[in-house]
């Protein structure tokens, strides 16, 4: 085992991959936690696909640089977010259907443009990530995004908790409640872009959602959710990268997300708030207080 790690560590691209994903785990863990708690898990996935045409157009016009990735992805992500809000507010469609429609168009457009331009970058690494593609600029991007995310979360954590737990109460409490929502969506897009090189556009959101949903089965406080989500994300990255190294034909994105998926399944089976807790819940229900029993009778 030690020999394996020593061997992996001897390669510069593996060292970069381990450092980048470690920093990335710290950055995406809080994003994932709040995506899950705000019931935006699927919206996160849709947004990951929606930024594809921006990245592709940036790549086709200016090459695969961090700046083209950042500008293209941000324009596409923010554009889709604004269009979704407009469609939801001004037309009959709800926001989920609006976002689904737009991300499908965006994903198809992205793949079409990439194929039509006869790209030198293999489609597989674009969609699923490649640990070979992490250069100095990518490391700077991951580090920069992680710094911005953690500082923003330090400032936004309290309003985010209130607005997630009880949105109407939060709206009544503040003059600009949309600042928190839009700020959170911007952080989501930034983190998707940071995760793009390692995980690809299709898998980027996997490192956000699966560790967070796994943590949800164990944690009964926000602090627990954030710490456990980070631990699951970090472990997924390290084990996933090792698997990707052992099986050189496998892209790093699916390897990392599969490990995160294992944590999710184990947590669902054995976590106190998963299937494992159902037995305790049914035992506890025998000791219902008169308050609960009476409430149930009244609401039936």
């Amino acid at each position: 085992m030690f020999d394996l790690f020593a061997e992996m560590w001897s390669f510069v691209f593996m060292r970069r991959a381990f450092v980048a994903t470690t920093v990335l785990s710290a950055s995406v863990a809080p994003i994932g936690a709040f995506l899950v708690l705000r019931r935006l898990s699927l919206a996160g996935e849709a947004m990951a696909h929606a930024i594809t045409p921006g990245i592709v157009i940036g790549f086709v016009t200016a090459g695969l640089s961090v700046i083209s990735l950042l500008v293209g992805g941000l324009v596409a992500g923010v554009g889709v977010a604004i269009l979704t809000a407009l469609l939801a507010r001004k037309t009959i469609l709800r926001s989920d259907a609006s976002l689904a429609s737009l991300y499908l168009i965006a994903l198809a457009a992205g793949i079409f443009i990439l194929s039509a331009a006869g790209s030198a970058v293999p489609l597989k690494s674009f969609l699923f990530g490649s640990i070979l593609g992490i250069n100095d600029a990518s490391m700077m991007l991951v580090g920069g995004v992680a710094s911005v995310t953690l500082v923003a979360f330090a400032a936004l954590l309290r309003p985010l908790i209130v607005s997630t737990c009880d949105p109407i109460f939060f709206e009544a409490q503040t003059k600009r409640p949309w600042l928190v929502d839009q700020g959170f969506m911007l952080l989501l897009v930034l983190n998707l872009l940071a995760a793009f090189k390692t995980l690809g556009t299709l898998m980027a959101v996997g490192l956000m959602i699966l560790p967070a949903t796994a943590a949800r089965y164990w944690a009964s406080t926000i602090t627990g959710q954030l710490i456990l989500g980070f631990a699951f994300a970090l472990a997924s990255c390290w084990i996933g990268l090792t698997l990707s190294y052992l099986f050189p034909e496998t892209p790093s994105g699916p390897a990392i997300v599969l490990v995160a998926g294992s944590f999710f399944l184990i947590s669902a089976l054995f976590g106190p708030l998963g299937f494992g807790g159902r037995f305790r819940k049914s035992a506890a229900s025998k000791n219902l207080s008169t308050d609960q029993t009476y409430t149930q009778e009244r609401t039936q």
């Binding site: 309003p159 009544a172 959710q225 609401t299």
Partner: protein, 253 residues
């Protein structure tokens, strides 16, 4: 009597649908205003308008002492996500979060205030419980503790007694009574007329495209409740049978 809010010629609704118009109400400090009406008559919309979450179609709101920084608010229980991973004491503490800002902790004084509010709501022993383990009544008491911590001059309660048992309702009514005695104005949306008649000074009856406001015994008459679609004639006759019997007895004497 000090007015917390003066509403003049208010029309409320949505584009293409006016729920009611020409409503003028003064909300006084130290009074309890019950908002009553059938489903869809605009009760919750009225509360959300007071909160500033939606604009009226027409009319003017005047706050004689300025709009309070804090308006106490309790939403309908059905709008609340009970699976959110938070403990009872932290949910209640949200009522005071504007006071301690973005960064600082609660401190000893803050923790004592939260404990006192939980104690008043009768759930201090549940302070460390997670929300998903609470019954409907216990959650409502927690949300009342949050309103206590808001320490607001105007308090809006949207169906506070839905899905709670009689003892919880009595406890929550005692808290409302204390608020009124402290000089706060309380506006509550309710369905149960008996709690209105016993505990509210004023009533606002919505329905049939109109809004009627005044002291409870002037507004909640059988004729008005029937004409504004809140009760059928037989329901009104049954509900006010005691009153009719008393009148009949007086006539015999």
């Amino acid at each position: 009597m000090t007015n917390v809010l003066e509403i003049r010629n208010l029309a409320l609704g949505y584009p293409g649908l006016t729920l009611f118009k020409h409503l003028s109400v003064d909300i006084h400090a130290g009074t309890t205003l019950a908002v009553i009406g059938a489903n869809g008559s605009g009760k919750s919309t009225f509360v959300k308008m007071l909160l500033g979450l939606m604009d009226p179609l027409a009319g003017r709101l005047t706050w004689p002492s300025g709009r309070p920084d804090e308006i106490g608010y309790l939403a309908q229980l059905t709008e609340f996500d009970r699976r959110f991973p938070i403990r009872v004491r932290d949910l209640a503490a949200m009522g005071a979060w504007r006071g301690f800002g973005l960064w600082s902790g609660l401190g000893r004084a803050g923790r004592d205030r939260v404990a006192a509010a939980l104690d008043e709501a009768g759930i201090l022993d549940l302070a460390d419980r997670s929300l998903h383990t609470l019954s409907g009544g216990q959650l409502q008491r927690t949300l009342f503790a949050r309103v206590i911590l808001q320490d607001a001059p105007l308090i809006l309660l949207d169906e506070p007694f839905a899905a709670v048992d009689q003892s919880t309702e009595a406890h929550l009514l005692s808290i409302i009574k204390r608020w009124r005695e402290e000089g706060r104005a309380v506006v509550l949306v309710v369905h149960d007329l008996s709690s209105v008649l016993d505990h509210c000074s004023h009533a606002l009856l919505l329905g049939g495209g109109t809004a009627t406001h005044g002291p409870v015994d002037e507004v909640l008459t059988p004729d008005r409740l029937v004409s504004q679609g809140y009760l059928s004639e037989s329901q009104a006759a049954w509900m006010f049978r005691g009153q009719a019997n008393a009148q009949e007895n007086r006539a015999h004497v």
